[in-house]
């Protein structure tokens, strides 16, 4: 029962990531695209955690942690660039 559920979760997270890619493609402003990127990053992090259970390789949790932190820093940099026009 757990395996079927986790497979459904992985498939549905994939579908949700593709659906939020639509907003990243069509968003009228740049902040829409940043929001859609944030959503896709969340989907990928959850996908990695659930995939670590499916594959019995639990070091993928570390991968998800590092990916989440890197996406946080990159989103901060993009937003600062959008606000002030420069990074440093």
């Amino acid at each position: 029962m757990i395996n079927v559920t986790v497979n459904i979760v992985v498939f549905w997270l994939f579908v949700l990531g593709l659906a939020s890619l639509y907003r990243a493609f069509k968003g009228p402003t740049a902040t829409d695209r940043v929001a859609a990127m944030n959503m896709i990053v969340t989907m990928v992090v959850l996908y990695t955690i659930v995939f670590s259970f499916l594959n019995n390789q639990y070091f993928y949790i570390d991968v998800a942690l590092v990916f989440s932190l890197a996406a946080f820093i990159s989103t901060l940099c993009i937003l600062k660039f959008l606000r002030e026009g420069r990074l440093f």
Partner: protein, 135 residues
Amino acid sequence: MAPIETPEKPGEVMEMVRDIFVVIILFGGLFFLTVGVVGMIRLPDVYNRLHALGKCDTLGSGLIIFGMFFLVPGMTNIVKLLLMLILTFTINPVITHLITKTAYVRGTALTDDSFVVSTYYEEEEGEFLMGEGDE
């Protein structure tokens, strides 16, 4: 002679209860993430989309990570997942607030038929920062 009935282990019942609990939590997280993505696609404005994103994203990802607590073995992985839960609950509101602030500073227009209710409006001259918007 009747076959001897083997008594059911108490561990199996506990595993069944745990599995049902985990399934409910995982599908709850999927429900909230689906609501967030549908809101981000359907809503008309960047502020409305961030309203949908900031709540549903945090709650859905938190529920899914909390459901994975009961599936991973070992204390180390559980501590890592707890760290991820704390990071998600702190990073997601900060990111949502910064995206909204950036959209406000850049002067993104509100959608049509929306209005601003403010008690300071009559005292100050000029208009709010809501400009023409960037296309």
